[in-house]
Structure formats: structure tokens, C-alpha cells
């Protein structure tokens, strides 16, 4: 029947939270299917992560070390994954719907002749045929679909922060080292430079002041910045967010983008300014504790999900608001 294999990932030398979430859901699926849970780690030095993964009690931790697996060149990772799958023959293979998983998932599925479902928020085993039932939001979040696909292994990428991270177990897993054959000629895409930028960590904000198309121009974000500063005096971590349109228009960088393909957040307060509320945006902020919407269109979606609404031009209301906040 084949075991449940999950692809783990490391951050600053230790396992990331997404991996622990995968261990949690993977363990349940292994039980439902009647097989073992195994963890796979790839890298130039995956040893530390492998030892850590073993403490969560999988049957096995496959550790694949190779100098070419340093960083993330998808073609090396894919070749390594192909070789591991040929040897391990997993029945289910799960990855996180992360930067790596989004790239590796479809490409590996194609190479293995399997079918992948991306960004799943629930997984179960159909007792009839043992196939995975893959639950995924579709249509930007307007509907929830349960898919079933043929093929072996059963593959899915899993959305972050949906499943509980696994707790450490008493039984230690066995660490198995797998050798892979890689050479530099396998990469047809060459990395020229990797650049770290200062990116905002929107998911750490207490309050987000977000702008969209309704700002009309880039300068609108300066008005929002005034509000951000004013709120910072009483609300801790206040950050600027935006809709996809604002990024498309080149007004602001994409690390500020909230929504399905940006960051999914649930701050204490979300102030939506000039954002009409496309569904793909709403799914990224609708779990905010309080939502305040400012928009000239009283009929827009954002007011339907808001707690407080102001139907007015932001350019009139925000400077006045900043003044009031400073007076309080």
C-alpha cells in the first residue's frame, strides 16, 4: 500500500512549523490507511533536521545530503526526489503549499505520472478505495471542493496554519540516509544571484492599514502611512497592507499584498481603504478580529464583511482621523 511520506523543510537550521503540521496530518492519514509515516529531508546538511524530525516519532526519516541541494535549485531537488521515490515508493506524498512545494509539487507529479491537488485545507482517506480525499478552496475562496484523483503516489500540497503542529513523541524514528546521484549539468536554469530584501512580516501585525485601487494613485499610500504612524502610538505593531491591484499598478511592493496569493492574516484590526473586496483578497483578511472599511462605493463587498463602515473619500476622512487620534 505504501507509506505516507512528507517532505520536510528547515529554517535557520531547525524544522519549520509547516513540517510539524505535515507530520500531524501525515500521521493521521497513515493510521487511516494502515501504513507508516515517514519524513524526507533534503539539503546540503540535513542531518540536524533529520535528528529533530526523528523525535516526532515517524517510522523513518530519510535524510538526503548532497552539495548541490544547498539553497533551492528546483531541478536538483526534482532529480533527487525522483530517485528517492523510485526507492521508497510512497503511497501518499505530501508537501507544504510553500515556495518550494508550489514549484516541486506539479513538476514531480508529472514526472511520477501522479496527480496533485494543491493548497489543501483537509485530507482524508476514502475507505472504499484508499484514495485521498483532497479538500481545497476554489474560485478564490467562493467554494470548497473535495477532489479525488487516480494515480500513485497520491499527492497533495497542504496550506499552512490549517493543521495543528505535531507534538514530540516518545518513540524515535529511524534515520535512513539515501544517496542520490546529481551533477551540475542537470540544471538548465542557472542562478545568477539571490537577493535578500527587507520584507514586511504582515502576519505579525496587530493592526493593518491596507489600500487598494480606490486610492487612485501611489501617493494615497502616503496618506495611509500618516494613519499608520498615528495608530502606532497606541496599537503596537501597525503595518501597511494592500490589495493585488495596488501591486499590479506598481504602487507598492508585493510583500504588502494581502490575500490568496499574498499573505493570509488575522490582525486585531484591519482597516481597508479603497479596497472593493475581491474574494481572493477577502479570504486573506476576513478572520481579522475587527474590520473597518472606508470606501466611496456603499455597495462594495468590503462593507459586507466589515464591522464598521465609512462611505466617504479616504482623502477627506483619513487626515481628519489622524488629527482626532492625535488629540485623544
Amino acid at each position: 500500500m505504501g507509506d505516507v511520506l512528507i517532505l520536510g523543510d528547515m529554517k535557520e537550521g531547525s524544522l519549520d512549523t509547516r513540517t510539524l503540521e505535515l507530520v500531524g496530518v501525515g500521521r493521521r492519514l497513515a493510521k487511516e490507511r494502515g501504513g507508516d509515516l515517514c519524513v524526507l529531508l533534503l539539503g546540503d546538511e540535513p542531518g540536524g533536521g533529520a535528528a529533530e524530525a526523528a523525535s516526532y516519532g515517524p517510522a523513518k526519516v530519510y535524510s538526503v545530503a548532497h552539495p548541490l541541494l544547498k539553497g533551492f535549485q528546483p531541478e536538483f531537488w526534482l532529480k533527487a526526489l525522483e530517485q528517492v521515490c523510485a526507492q521508497v515508493k510512497p503511497g501518499v506524498f505530501l508537501m507544504s503549499h510553500s515556495y518550494k512545494g508550489m514549484e516541486l509539487g506539479p513538476r514531480l507529479a508529472c514526472r511520477l505520472g501522479a496527480r496533485l491537488t494543491t493548497d489543501c485545507i483537509d485530507l482524508a482517506v476514502d475507505p472504499q478505495d484508499g484514495l485521498l480525499l483532497r479538500t481545497k478552496p476554489v474560485s478564490g475562496g467562493n467554494a470548497i471542493s473535495v477532489f479525488k484523483c487516480p494515480g500513485d503516489p497520491q499527492m497533495a500540497t497542504v496550506r499552512g496554519k490549517v493543521f495543528e503542529p505535531a507534538a514530540a513523541a516518545e518513540a524515535k524514528g529511524e534515520i535512513v540516509e539515501i544517496a542520490v546521484e546529481l551533477d551540475a549539468s542537470m540544471a538548465r536554469v542557472a542562478s545568477l544571484e539571490v537577493v535578500k530584501e527587507e520584507v514586511v512580516a504582515l502576519d505579525k501585525a496587530d493592526v493593518v492599514v491596507a489600500g487598494g485601487a480606490g486610492l487612485g494613485e501611489e501617493d494615497g499610500f502616503e496618506v495611509l502611512e500618516d494613519l499608520r504612524k498615528a495608530l502606532s502610538k497606541s496599537f503596537g505593531n501597525v503595518m501597511i497592507g494592500c490589495s493585488r491591484v495596488a501591486v499590479d499598478k506598481g504602487w507598492i511592493s508585493s510583500d504588502h499584498q494581502v490575500g490568496l496569493t499574498g499573505t493570509m492574516i488575522s490582525p486585531d484590526i484591519y482597516v481597508a481603504v479603497g479596497i472593493s473586496g475581491a474574494i481572493q483578497h477577502l479570504v486573506g483578511m476576513v478572520h481579522s478580529k475587527k474590520i473597518i472599511a472606508i470606501n466611496t462605493d456603499a455597495g462594495c463587498n468590503m462593507f459586507k464583511v466589515a464591522d464598521y463602515g465609512v462611505v466617504e473619500d479616504f482623502d477627506k476622512i483619513i487626515p481628519a482621523l489622524v488629527e482626532k487620534l492625535e488629540g485623544l
Binding site: T118, G140, F147, K148, K196, E197, L260, N301
Partner: protein, 264 residues
């Protein structure tokens, strides 16, 4: 240098910006019913914009491919109005509700039929099923290098150089042509198309070629449908909005400040 030939894959979907009230789930028939006009999927528009910028710099031609059970040429003619040179619709009843792999397979057949190309651009994911697979699968099926999540694309001396978004910033990567690149919205929105230009294109006499599985040589039993076991509505996200009103913006701002103070 020979002329650049770019293929852009663009999907027609119901407008993802539609108001919530215009969307409902038909659980029985497992369909999302959207009472909104059809548009080109937003990330595919970003891909078209990226293609237009390349051909503006280097010359060359852009062919737009769109696949579906039925594709409206009035929706896709927008691509021609924006500056694409050629539009080919891939239409067949057999293309209804295909899984990602089968879509990629049919697109690959169409691209092999076109034959000569340097660069294929697709959106990073479509705004209806949000699967994010077709582009990368297409690259695999055609056996060409693929690069995902592009925020900037340039072509130089037979290679494509892409700035791709990463969680910590970006990476610059390079691949020899032909190659496939999936495009993210950082590339920028599709350029403005004047009303007169749009109308002219809609009235355009030229008929748009349409290929079915027969023309593509895709055996229809090679294509698989998505298997949806169940389709349901998400939890209701609506709240009761309390509108703050007043005679002047100043008065409303005062009320809003009081609300914020109460949330502190």
C-alpha cells in the same frame, strides 16, 4: 538574430472581482455559478503584459492560446487589442472540466502544432480553480526549462533572464530558450486599451482560428476530467456593518476615532 516568437496561454474565467452576491454554489451539479462577465484570468493578463514589453524591446510576435469547452472570442480579442499578433482558440466539448494535467497536455499538443517558439508565458495560477499547476506541467511535458513566479522578465542573446520572487526577496535566474516562465502580478497590470481600439478589435473582420482535439491530434480518451466528490459553500463571512455617518467628514472621523479608541 531570428525574430522572437512568444506564446501566451490565457484562460477565460468568470470575473474574479464579482460581488459576493453574484456567486453561488450548485452543490447538486458540483458547479460554482458566477453571474458575472467572462474575463481573461488576471495573472494571464500579467503574462501578456510581460510578453508585450519583450516584443516592444526586441521585436517578434505574440500568439495567445486559450483553451476551454467554449471560449468567447470577444473576451480574448482584448489580447489582440492590447497588441498580441495572433489568437488561437482551443475549443472542444472534450475540454470541459479537465484536470490540470490534461489541460497542459492539450496545450502542449497545440504548441507542438505551432512548432516554432522561443518563450512560453503563463499566469502563475488561474482565478477560478487556483491550482497553479498548468504552467509548470506544460514545461515538463514539453521538456523545456521552467521558471516560476516571475516579477521581471528580459531576453538577451538566446536566453531568458528572470527576477523571480522568493520568500526573502528575489532570485535572478537564467535559462536558454526555448523556456517557459510563469508570471506573477508584480510584473504589472495589462496596459490600458482605449475604447476605440477595443471596439475596432471587436468589430474586426478577421476570423479567429479554433482548433478542436481533432486538429490537435489529441486522442480525447487521453484527457481526464477533474473528479469532484463534493462542492460546498464556504462558511459565511458576512458581518453586520455599522455605518458611521455625520454631516461633515470631520464629524465622521470623530466617530471613527472613538471606535478605534474603544478597540484599544
Amino acid at each position: 538574430m531570428k525574430e522572437m516568437r512568444i506564446i501566451v496561454c490565457a484562460k477565460q474565467i468568470p470575473d474574479p472581482e464579482a460581488p459576493l452576491s453574484d456567486v453561488r454554489v450548485d452543490a447538486e451539479n458540483k458547479e460554482v455559478i458566477v453571474d458575472a462577465p467572462q474575463v481573461i484570468s488576471p495573472f494571464d493578463e500579467n503574462a501578456l503584459e510581460a510578453a508585450l514589453r519583450i516584443t516592444e524591446d526586441l521585436g517578434g510576435t505574440i500568439t495567445v492560446l486559450s483553451l476551454g469547452k467554449k471560449v468567447s472570442d470577444t473576451v480574448l480579442r482584448k489580447a489582440l487589442a492590447a497588441g498580441a499578433d495572433e489568437l488561437i482558440l482551443l475549443q472542444d466539448d472534450a475540454f470541459d472540466k479537465l484536470d490540470s494535467y490534461s489541460v497542459a497536455q492539450a496545450l502542449a499538443d497545440a504548441i507542438r502544432k505551432i512548432g516554432d517558439y522561443d518563450l512560453i508565458l503563463t499566469g502563475r495560477q488561474a482565478g477560478d480553480w487556483d491550482s497553479g499547476q498548468v504552467g509548470l506541467l506544460l514545461g515538463e511535458i514539453l521538456g523545456i526549462p521552467s521558471i516560476s513566479l516571475a516579477r521581471e522578465i528580459s531576453v538577451e542573446e538566446g536566453s531568458v533572464v528572470v527576477k523571480k520572487s522568493t520568500p526573502e526577496g528575489y532570485e535572478r535566474v537564467k535559462a536558454a530558450l526555448p523556456a517557459l516562465v510563469t508570471v506573477s502580478n508584480e510584473v504589472g497590470e495589462l496596459r490600458y486599451i482605449s475604447r476605440t481600439r477595443m471596439l475596432k478589435m471587436l468589430k474586426g473582420a478577421g476570423s479567429i482560428p479554433s482548433w478542436s482535439t481533432q486538429e490537435l491530434g489529441t486522442p480525447s480518451d487521453a484527457l481526464n476530467k477533474m473528479c469532484i466528490v463534493e462542492l460546498s459553500s464556504p462558511p459565511d463571512m458576512r458581518r453586520n456593518c455599522q455605518f458611521l455617518e455625520g454631516a461633515t467628514p470631520d464629524e465622521v472621523a470623530g466617530k471613527l476615532a472613538a471606535v478605534l479608541k474603544s478597540l484599544q
